[in-house]
Amino acid sequence: MATQPASRWQVRDDFSYHPRHHWCREQADGVLMGVTDYTQERAGDILYVSLPVPGETVRAGEPMGSIESGKWVGQLYAPVSGVVVAVNERVAADPRLLNRDPYEAGWIAVIRPDAAGSLDALWDADRYRAALEEMAEDL
C-alpha cells in the first residue's frame, strides 16, 4: 500500500507537542494549547466541540473535552496539568475553525500550569515530525 508523506501535515517549529496530537505554546498567562493539523485532517469536518470551563483543574494526559465529526467523538487531552484560565468561545460557536486554522484562530484553551517546566516533557517539532513519519508509513 502506498504511504502518505508526513509533510502533508503542518508542524509549527515554535510549538511543543503532546503525543496525542495537541500543540502548546507558553505565553504570559499560561500555556496556550490546541489540536494539530494532523488531528483536524484525520477527523474531517468538525461539527461540535465541548470545551472545559475556565477554573476547571485538568491533569496532563487526561481528557478535558471532546470534538465530534462524522458521528465520531474524539477526546481533547490536557497537555499539561493545571487550571484552565481561558477557552476559545469562537471555536465553541464555530467548530470548523479547528479545521481552518488549528494553530492560530483555532486555539482551544489557556492552562495555567501547576508546576514550572511543564512543557519539558513534551516533544519539540522535530520529534513530532518523526512520530508523524512513522504513522504515515502505516496509513
Partner: protein
C-alpha cells in the same frame, strides 16, 4: 487481526443495558463484540446533541450516549452490535473512517451473505440498494475505540418522528414520510427473519472475518461497570445538556439526506436536501391559513445556502 475480541450473544436485555454494555466495557478496557437488542423502546441522544431535540411528550425513556451522531429511536425490532477495541491495537486504524471500515466490515459481509447489495456509506450508514438499513456511530472512550450500530428488522418512521422535537407539526409527517422513502428493513426483504437469526448471522460474520469466538457473558464481572455507566448516562447534568441555537438545525434522514427548516416572513420553509448532490429534493412552505405548498426545486434553491438564504 491479532487476538480477536470475544463475541457475546446477549440477545434481549433491558433498554439501559443495551447502552451500558459498551460504555462499561470500554471503561474496563475489555475488547468485545456484543450482540443484543432492547426489550422496550427508548431514545438515545448523541454526545453533543441538545436535549431540546428530544420530544419529552413522547413518553419514551431517554439517555445520552458518549458517542456521536444524533437522536435515534430504538426498540426491540432492531439488532444492535457493539464493537469495542483497544486504541493501542497493533496495526489498528488511525482515523474514524478506518475504524468504521474495520468494525462494520463484518456487518456488510453478513448482509451480502443474505444476497443483498450492501455498502458502507461513509461516514457511518450501511445501505442496501441505496436505502439505509443500519445507522452507526463511534468514538474514543478512554483507551478504547467503540463503534456501535443497529440493523433494522422492522422500523416505524412514525414512532421515530414522534420522538423528535421539530419546529412545526407539518415537519413531523414530512420527516416520517422522508424516512419511509430512504430507509429499508430486513423484513421488507425477508419477512420471516428473526432477531435470533440475525444475531447468529452477525456472529458468524465476525467469526469468519476476525476469527472471533463466542464466549459466555461474565455478568458478575461487569455488573459494577454497567451500573456506573447507567448512573453517568442518565445524570441530569449530562443528559439535559443544551446548546445555543437548538431547534432549527438539520434533521438527518440518512447520510447525505437532511430535512432543513428555515423561518422567513413568508412562512416556515422545510426542504429535503441531498448534500452530496447539492440539490433540494423537495421543499414545502407552511403559511398560516393556507395548506402546505409544495415548491419546485428551482424556487427553493436558496435553501442550499448555509445561511438559509
Amino acid at each position: 487481526m491479532n487476538a480477536p475480541p470475544p463475541i457475546y450473544l446477549a440477545g434481549g436485555v433491558d433498554w439501559m443495558t443495551t447502552q451500558t454494555l459498551y460504555h462499561g466495557l470500554a471503561e474496563r478496557g475489555e475488547e468485545a463484540v456484543v450482540l443484543c437488542w432492547p426489550t422496550s423502546p427508548y431514545v438515545s441522544l448523541g454526545c453533543h446533541e441538545p436535549y431540546e431535540d428530544f420530544r419529552s411528550g413522547s413518553g419514551l425513556a431517554v439517555m445520552r450516549r458518549q458517542v456521536g451522531g444524533s437522536l435515534v429511536y430504538l426498540d426491540q425490532r432492531q439488532v444492535f452490535y457493539h464493537v469495542i477495541l483497544s486504541l493501542a491495537r497493533p496495526g489498528g486504524p488511525r482515523s474514524p473512517e478506518g475504524w468504521y471500515r474495520l468494525a462494520l466490515g463484518p456487518v456488510v459481509h453478513y448482509l451480502r451473505d443474505l444476497g443483498w447489495q450492501a455498502e458502507l456509506r461513509l461516514p457511518a450508514d450501511i445501505l442496501v440498494d441505496g436505502l439505509k438499513i443500519s445507522g452507526n456511530a463511534g468514538g474514543q472512550l478512554g483507551e478504547s475505540i467503540v463503534v456501535v450500530g443497529n440493523l433494522l428488522l422492522d422500523f416505524s418512521p412514525q414512532e421515530m418522528a414522534e420522538a423528535r422535537a421539530l419546529p412545526h407539526p407539518a415537519m413531523r409527517s414530512l420527516f416520517a414520510e422522508s424516512m419511509g422513502r430512504h430507509l429499508t428493513t430486513l423484513r421488507a426483504r425477508r419477512p420471516d427473519i428473526s432477531g435470533q437469526e440475525v444475531m447468529r448471522g452477525l456472529a458468524a460474520a465476525f467469526r469468519e472475518d476476525w476469527g472471533s469466538k463466542t464466549a459466555p457473558i461474565p455478568w458478575s464481572r461487569w455488573r459494577e461497570a454497567l451500573a456506573q455507566a447507567a448512573r453517568k448516562l442518565t445524570d441530569p447534568e449530562w443528559l439535559l445538556a443544551t446548546r445555543a441555537g437548538a431547534g432549527l438545525g438539520p434533521v438527518k434522514v440518512r447520510e447525505g439526506v437532511y430535512l432543513q427548516a428555515v423561518r422567513r416572513p413568508d412562512g416556515l420553509w422545510i426542504a429535503e436536501i441531498d448534500t452530496g448532490r447539492s440539490a433540494v429534493l423537495r421543499a414545502w412552505r407552511t403559511t398560516p391559513g393556507l395548506s402546505e405548498v409544495l415548491v419546485d426545486d428551482e424556487k427553493a434553491a436558496w435553501l442550499l445556502t448555509p445561511a438559509g438564504g
